[in-house]
């Protein structure tokens, strides 16, 4: 019986060596010619092709050299064949991995038909290799995970709700002084979430401010109301767009990082190590990240809104003929406390959703590198969907309430 870890390639090489057929590289070409001649000679001697034949009720497939190429696998066995069939390799002198694979495949097909397969006269090593492949085929791993259906989606939704509940409980315990959060952890996350995200938030909000001013100006110009352009840009940026853009950027930059960090910890059993100690992963890992994003959201929002308003002044002044002092005056007049706190609330909500999506996906990730990638993607997608849904819901709700 071949040793464990025996491969088809090594089996073929070993079989050739056992027959004294070890070939040095410089003699390889000559050897190939010799093998070809052998095949040709054997084929000529046998002067037959591989085919099924029935003798006294026993169906036999006689393998004629050269047997590789495996076209004979498709040779149909008559439907009348029953019980056992025989594969006879008595006239074969050589074999290779292609022949072994073809025989293995044929045997599996025949066995699927309920036939017993007897192998006769195979060259040395080939029978053993087929036996080995048979033994390996007997081992079955766990079934591949199925794609989540409705039940799977409901389970995921239940996990998400449970996770939100856990976070709320831990937050309440922390506010009540019953849970500890390491300041160093919060500072580390603040560093990652805040200053490093600021440049891209500023850039994106400025570009959105320019777009808003252009589009708004074009419409207002038609009714000669360019004077209101500053108000449109200011209210739009402060109340809606600065928060939305900040949320989207945080989702792609910070939420993805949260998911990747936690999923990697999950894969490396680091989260299990916390659980074994009785350390709540939500308190230890999620809360610092959530707090960091909630702390960084207001300054990022403020910077983003200012950048958008300032950038909106360029088309207002250069294209639509609004003077700079007038733009500033209109902006300040339009900016009320209501718009400010609504913008702040929305921004904080989006930041929280980004943190929760990242941490939820990271903590519930699988234990492989692939799972880390999946968690990261899912975190970004979920955060974006949640942000847009929340933006829609809050806009409708605040407007309906008269704010």
């Amino acid at each position: 019986m071949p040793a464990h870890g025996f491969s088809l390639r090594s089996a073929a090489v070993q079989a050739v060596r056992q027959r004294g057929g070890g070939v040095r590289p410089r003699r390889r070409a000559r050897h190939h010619r010799r093998v070809s001649q052998n095949h040709g000679a054997a084929g000529a001697c046998a002067s037959e092709t591989t085919a099924w034949a029935c003798e006294q009720g026993q169906w036999t497939l006689r393998l004629a050299p050269p047997a590789a190429g495996a076209a004979w696998i498709e040779a149909a066995l008559p439907a009348a064949a029953a019980g056992s069939v025989r594969i006879d390799g008595g006239s074969l002198r050589e074999w290779d991995a292609g022949l072994a694979a073809a025989l293995w495949s044929l045997r599996a097909r025949l066995q699927q038909r309920g036939l017993q397969v007897e192998l006769h006269g195979l060259p040395p090593g080939l029978g053993e290799v087929l036996q080995l492949a048979q033994a390996d085929a007997a081992v079955r791993g766990p079934a591949a995970p199925r794609r989540p259906g409705l039940r799977g989606s409901l389970h995921q939704a239940r996990l998400t709700v449970a996770f939100f509940g856990e976070v709320l409980i831990v937050l309440a315990r922390w506010l009540g002084g019953h849970a500890r959060v390491r300041g160093a952890d919060v500072l580390q996350q603040l560093d990652q979430a805040g200053p490093r995200s600021a440049p891209i938030v500023l850039l994106c909000c400025a570009l959105v401010g320019v777009m808003l001013a252009y589009m708004g100006g074009a419409q207002l110009e038609r009714i000669g109301a360019q004077g209101f352009l500053a108000g449109v840009v200011t209210v739009g940026m402060v109340r809606e767009l600065a928060g939305l853009m900040t949320g989207v950027i945080l989702a792609g930059r910070v939420g993805a990082a949260f998911a990747a960090q936690l999923a990697t910890m999950q894969a490396g059993e680091e989260i299990d190590a916390l659980r074994v100690l009785g350390v709540d992963p939500v308190a230890h890992l999620v809360l610092p990240r959530l707090l960091a994003l909630l702390l960084m959201a207001p300054p990022l929002l403020a910077c983003g809104a200012l950048a958008g308003i300032a950038a909106g002044a360029l088309p207002a002044v250069l294209v639509y003929g609004v003077s700079a002092p007038e733009y500033l005056q209109q902006s300040l007049r339009a900016l009320t406390a209501t718009h400010l706190w609504i913008g702040l609330c929305k921004g904080l909500l989006y930041a929280a959703l980004v943190a929760l999506a990242g941490c939820r996906e990271g903590l519930h990730a699988g234990r492989s590198a692939e799972a880390v990638g999946r968690a990261t993607t899912a975190a970004v997608v979920k955060a974006l969907v949640w942000i847009v849904a929340a933006a829609c819901a809050t806009t409708v709700a605040f407007t309906a309430m008269g704010f």
Binding site: P142, E270, A273, V276, L277
Partner: protein, 244 residues
């Protein structure tokens, strides 16, 4: 620790069933069997990370899987667990890895936490590694650091998941020796999962064999006794490794 009728499953598939055994105070019990027989899954059940499909795990009569989370967490803190890959918290230095449990679950001040963390690192031969990050360590050092962290809260029961895997024979033997010293000098009870038979003969008072085909415990007893009088499959398993 008593295990009664424990049935463990992973990914919805039955792994082992009807496991009944006891871990005696101060002994080294080694769980052994071929790869894929469910050794690590069993360990995760023993420490309460997974809910069993059936059966109970009792520590001093208290069920490790049923009850309020608070008391259960306190019960689990009597364990020290060393995971297969070490599972050191990668964003923290070795010192912080060891001090975190001390800070969270003891009333010791910072200086005392640090002193104890340094001592535990010295116990495993890593006294100079206090300020190093896990990524800066070799595989063997990471395993030893993980063992030091498992010892941080002076556990009564140490559970080790394949401590020698991925190590060269010399380092694996050093780790076995370390486990024996800890048992001898600290009186710690040890449950160790391994598929390395050399470790079984080196450290085990008793060995527990898991059969992947039957999905049951095949035998439990002193390794030499099992080698001489155990079931045929166990004898063959031990003898092959013994010969190697």
């Amino acid at each position: 620790m008593q295990v009664h009728g424990l049935t463990v499953a992973a990914g919805g598939q039955l792994v082992q069933q009807d496991l009944d055994f006891e871990v005696h105070r101060g002994e080294v019990l080694v769980v052994v069997g071929p790869s894929g027989c469910g050794k690590s899954t069993l360990l995760r059940h023993l420490v309460g990370l997974e809910q069993p499909a059936a059966g109970r795990v009792l520590l001093d009569g208290q069920d490790l899987h049923r009850g309020a989370e608070g008391p259960l967490a306190a019960l689990r803190r009597r364990f020290g667990v060393m995971f297969q890959a070490g599972a050191l918290w990668s964003s923290m230095t070795l010192g912080e890895n060891l001090m975190l449990p001390l800070r969270l679950f003891t009333t010791l001040d910072g200086a005392e936490c640090e002193r104890r963390a340094r001592f535990k690192l010295a116990l495993v031969g890593l006294d100079g590694g206090f300020g190093l990050l896990p990524a800066q360590l070799s595989g063997g050092m990471r395993k030893r650091a993980a063992l030091a962290r498992a010892l941080a809260l002076d556990p009564e029961l140490l559970l080790l998941d394949e401590p020698g895997s991925g190590l060269d024979p010399l380092n694996a033997a050093r780790l076995d020796e370390l486990v024996l010293h800890l048992r001898q000098y600290l009186g710690t009870t040890v449950v160790m999962v391994t598929h390395e038979i050399a470790s079984v003969f080196a450290v085990a008072d008793r060995a527990l064999f898991l059969d992947p085909q039957e999905r049951r415990m095949t035998a439990i007893g002193p390794p030499q006794e099992l080698l001489a009088h155990g079931p045929a499959a166990v004898r063959a398993f031990l003898a092959r490794a013994d010969a190697a």
